[in-house]
Amino acid sequence: MTLTEDPSTATPDAPAKEVGSARLRKEDARLITGKTTWTDNMVLPGMLYMSVLRSPIAHATISNLDVSAAKDRPNVVAVYTGQDFKDEQGSIPCAWPVTPDMVNPGHPSIAVDSVNHVGEAVAIVVARSRTAAVDAVEAIDVDYEPLPVVLDMEEAVKEGSALVHDHTESNTSYHFVFDAGEAGTGTDTDAAFDAAEVVVSRRFVQQRLIPAFMEPRSVVVGVTGDNYTLWSATQIPHILRVMAALTTGIPEHKLRVIAPDVGGGFGGKLQVNPEEILALLIARRLGKPIKWTETRSESLMTAHHGRDQVQFIDVAADREGNVKGLRVRLLADMGAYLRLITPGVPALGAFMFPGIYKFPAYRFECDGVFTNKVPTDAYRGAGRPEATFAIERIMDELAVELSMDPMELRRKNWINAEEFPFTTVAGLSYDSGDYEQATQAALELLGYDELRAEQARRRESGDPVQLGIGISTFTEMCGLAPSRVLGSLSFGAGGWEQASIRMLPTGKVEVVTGSTPHGQGHETAWSQIVADELGVPFDDVEVLHGDTAVSARGLDTYGSRSLVVGGTAVVKAAEKVVAKARKVAAHLLEASEDDLEFSGGRFSVKGTPGAGLAIQEIALAIFASHDYPEGIEPSIDAEAAFDPTNFSFPHGTHLCAMEVDTDTGFVKIRKYACVDDIGNIVNPIIVEGQMHGGLAQGISQALYEEAIYDADGNLTTGTFVDYLVPSAMDLPHFDTGNTTHAAPDNPLGAKGVGEAGCIASTPAVVNAALDAVRHLGVKDILMPMTPERVWRAIHQGGDGGARAAEGSNAYGGARTTESGIEEAAK
């Protein structure tokens, strides 16, 4: 691990700086020992429990639903069906109508007449204990009239396909286009391709993934008169409050949402869940508190999934390897319904396909497609991993076609350090960075030259274990997001963030953030920032979050936004506190404001040694308010909202060395090195943690994870026996490093790090495996690269997918056409 120098020890005379120091996370003791309130720990007096009967059929009309036997079961209070809520349940909101004519079929929280995916709620038992509720669910009798099941996107978009929703005209929800030529950010794409010397075309598959957060979703609703409190294991208490109020009709001011400590989300808890709405509706109807906690099986089956795209990508270049154009067509699986940002995920990715390269022309098209599967939505990286995979994979393919070194090809086309800020063909303004510098550092960390030599030796001797090196030179857009940009993309909300700082009489500090953590370490990082800004001890800062009654405004945590947007709001609030305190200090010190210096938590009078006041003394003085300037309010507390002017664009070079056992197809990462530029670092340990977790998830997409449905639409990977997530045992040591180019668009100079590892790593891993076996005739291997797929690709040709297609919707070679390389004769 190489870290930037710890600034707290850099200059011995300056006051010690918290920002940049490797503080251990202050929240970890309670999170790790469980000595905290997780939603499922909560017990309210008289609380009832709900259990959900879920459809075992992917597509059917409900012809008969008899709940009478369940009602008679012991301790059952009520049993509800969709009929009971059809007039008040509204639709799970979709906040991102990506096109004006997007078809949203509506998403009932509980099925009324028909079911559209396995796991959809069909009936609910409310009982005095959880076990009584679960037992009674078994007594419900349902008859289903099966309808044709739509699972395969490429089939679903064909004329005459069976429909997921019979009231829609087709299975296509929307057709989203970004054309750089039309947008004025690039030249005409077709012309670029017509004129190109070389065109490489590929079809890549982004398999469906399950976020698999550790803490299952859990909801508790408390009722006090006509006030409701919704505790939920959610990433988005603020957004949930607005959306739940709009959906249920509970007035927003009568609804308080609390996300207590939340055990992971990865985007999977960036949602307004049907069960949250149902718990509110039932609590309102019964006037009683209610709890629902999902089982792991329910979680895998019904919490939204991620990815699931078929990508058709064409790149045009000249023979010297200068890229000339990029064309992307996506089929993006929406699942059966549109949830909060289901349609927006691929649209967000639209802007990242050009990656770090200077494409003069670019066109992106995406069809959002309905299938009888659980909806997709945000999953770590949301749109950007998919885009990064496609561009980093096809750059390798182009290099092969041109017989060029893949790094040389990238170098030839990437944005040079002196070109920042750089406006891309997708219209984004990349903020800062140096791709060459990160690449040099990563090559050194990996030991690139030795590994290339070993690769040659193994190839020469025909070693059964072959070695490959994979590259991913990535960037991503994060720090969501400038509100005006979101508006221009038809997103239903802004991207600002809110913070407030309360100076307590004893000199302690409360920081309220609207960016709700669910494992990221906000409490530590925010404390470090405030400690520096106000000159107070790290331990004197308490960070409050996650309760809409405490943190009134906020837009929560996703899109690697917390530090760069929420942390900036904290800085702005602290600046206001200091400005307000300065007035009080000037008054008490009988000095002019201009003569005061603020440093290390003390206002001192220039040229008058010894005269000064600590900010804590001012907090006490203003609490007493016996003596403060005329014309100001008796408070130095402050609040700030920050709306970013740009995204932040972390970048990095990720290198993976992979051993492929050609006898068995087993792949093993030999070494993984990456150097990321995430701007200034507030806490290197938190950064390291985010990188490791992100790498694990990105590598896992390449090697392990895939949500597979059988031909009837049942999730066959419905437990962790079949849906493989790796443990530390399966992952290599990570050699990580950083270069530092401060982000120009926020005062911290920080870029987001939450998703970088996950976005960058997947193509590096796949490229590495292909590099190991390309000389054996392998051109592609489907993800996840199971040993069987790798083995078949080596020994039987194709991408190894054929077998997986049998009897399931797993992406298989049967439907993978051998994508040809066209060469325009010139």
Binding site: E138, T664, D722, L724, S727, D730, R803
Partner: protein, 286 residues
């Protein structure tokens, strides 16, 4: 999920256990480490009327010697097997295979007997027991004991020769001395997963010749199976890579492995050949 409700008994002796089983009604389940039974009950794939918890039957725990045999109590946990000195000396193949089972948490609860009675074709211990010609000591109501050889114990997918009301007491395996070399070669995708295919090999050498070979295959059919053709080809052969490779090429003979998300049958057969070569190569000290 939550299991359906059931009656619960927690005997402390084998006799009490047998009585509790007899008195438990139509559908009785014996609870050993619970690592297979509890998940099945939570998913409500099993909903027994009575659960007889034998974790307090101390006489079923532990490893002892009896002449040329090792006797392993049914309730000996995987962890205790791995750390047992007798196993370390005479039962290395068992230890090697047990070390690949799941993770430390599961190994501290799961038991040797439970893993064998559960008879999952992907489980690691049945093939080892079969390769070693283990004998299963079974107690029935009234305390009557019978002994079943491994070749008859594993009847079908998740099915053994145990009759209703019977309890597995202990398992006897021959001690393997220092003239034996062993290897358990397991193939799976992540460290904590079940075997896609695995091979248990024990080979006895005299000088440069193989005099005995025992090969058990995991997950190559609905029960564990012996790779008899490989064994026959190895016995009497000179220890060399060529002979081992040639013998291992017969590893999939007569197997009918299943096809699932991890592997199609033909790939499993291929793996059986590769893993057998690797296991025997290592066991023979090549």
């Amino acid at each position: 999920m939550i299991p359906a409700s059931f009656a619960y008994a927690r005997p402390t002796t084998v006799d009490e256990a047998l009585q509790a089983i007899a008195a438990g009604g139509e559908d009785v389940k014996i609870l050993a480490g619970g690592q297979s039974l509890i998940p099945v009950m939570r998913l409500r794939l099993a909903a027994p009327e009575t659960v007889v918890d034998i974790t307090r039957v101390t006489e079923l725990r532990g490893v002892r010697e009896d002449g040329d045999s090792l006797v392993i109590g049914a309730m000996t946990t995987h962890h205790d097997v791995i750390t047992d000195p007798l196993i370390a000396q005479y039962g290395k193949l068992i230890a090697e295979a047990t070390e690949t089972v799941a993770d430390p948490a599961v190994r501290h609860r799961g038991t040797f007997g439970g893993a064998l009675v559960h008879a999952d074709p992907a489980g690691d211990l049945p093939a080892v027991a079969l390769a070693l010609d283990a004998e299963f000591v079974i107690a029935g109501l009234g305390g009557a004991r019978r002994t079943v050889p491994a070749t008859e114990f594993f009847v079908d997918y998740l099915t053994t020769a145990l009759a209703d009301g019977e309890l597995l007491v202990e398992v006897r395996v021959p001690k393997l001395g220092s003239d034996w070399g062993v290897r358990y070669e397991k193939f799976n995708r992540v460290a904590q997963a079940w075997s896609i295919v695995a091979v248990a090999a024990a080979v006895r050498r005299e000088g440069s010749r193989i005099t005995e070979a025992r090969i058990g295959l995991t997950n190559m059919g609905s029960t564990p199976i012996r790779a008899r053709a490989v064994e026959a080809a190895l016995v009497g052969a000179d220890v060399s890579l060529e002979t081992v490779t040639a013998a291992a090429a017969q590893a999939a003979e007569g197997t009918e492995p299943s096809s699932d998300l991890n592997a199609q049958a033909d790939y499993r057969q291929h793996l059986a050949r590769v893993l057998t070569r690797r296991a025997v190569t290592a066991a023979a000290g090549l």
